[in-house]
């Protein structure tokens, strides 16, 4: 592999790390709101890093544009989806987990 390819793989691996954090967070965190944190932040960054790596790997203008679309789209939709779900939960009076609940 060339150094550029190593750099791309490294970027994708970093993205995979945050994707993993999101997946572990979804499983480990105690309630819907905290899980939404993991889903919105870590998953977005994981997606952005990895798709950025894809944009560099596919060296044509068209696929770079498509990748950038995908990144921008992720940036807007992921937090919005997390927000919509958290709000739906709040509307149904699901109480947030607090430290006192833990025992």
């Amino acid at each position: 592999m060339t150094p550029v390819e190593w750099a791309i793989v490294a970027l994708a691996l970093l993205g995979a790390f945050f994707g993993g954090v999101a997946a572990i967070g979804i499983v480990r965190l105690p309630d819907i709101y905290t899980r939404a944190h993991a889903a919105s932040k870590s998953d977005t960054l994981g997606a952005v890093l990895t798709i950025g790596a894809v944009a560099f790997a596919l060296q044509s203008d068209l696929s770079t544009v498509k990748s950038i679309f995908l990144i921008v789209f992720m940036f807007i939709t992921n937090p919005t989806a997390a927000h919509a779900i958290a709000r739906a939960a709040a509307d149904q009076d699901i109480e947030p987990w607090t430290k006192e609940d833990d025992s």
């Binding site: 995979a16 997606a47 990895t50 739906a88």
Partner: protein, 91 residues
């Protein structure tokens, strides 16, 4: 020496595993919202995996599939949270 495309495919495989891990939360719940947000994460990971496969096989048309999948994934979360709340207005 590792092939470039093999490395990308391996990372795509890692994302598929993360999606499966998120499916655990879909399975155990406990509320519908937990399930929806876990499906959302699994969907996002699938989109990333598709994009990585596109890069590994140098097939930029796969990116269109990823784009559409991302749109559907977003729509699913919004639709679920909207229709699951009786009084609506989440959009």
């Amino acid at each position: 020496m590792v092939e470039f495309s093999t490395a990308l495919l391996a990372i795509a495989g890692a994302f598929v595993i993360f999606a499966v891990v998120a499916l655990y939360r879909v399975f155990v719940g406990p509320t519908i919202h937990d399930r929806v947000i876990a499906v959302n994460v699994a969907g996002t990971n699938t989109v990333i995996a598709i994009a990585l496969v596109a890069a590994a096989f140098d097939e930029s048309t796969f990116l269109d599939v990823a784009l559409v999948y991302a749109l559907l994934n977003f729509l699913l979360s919004i639709a679920f949270s909207k229709f699951n709340v009786e009084r609506g207005g989440v959009l």
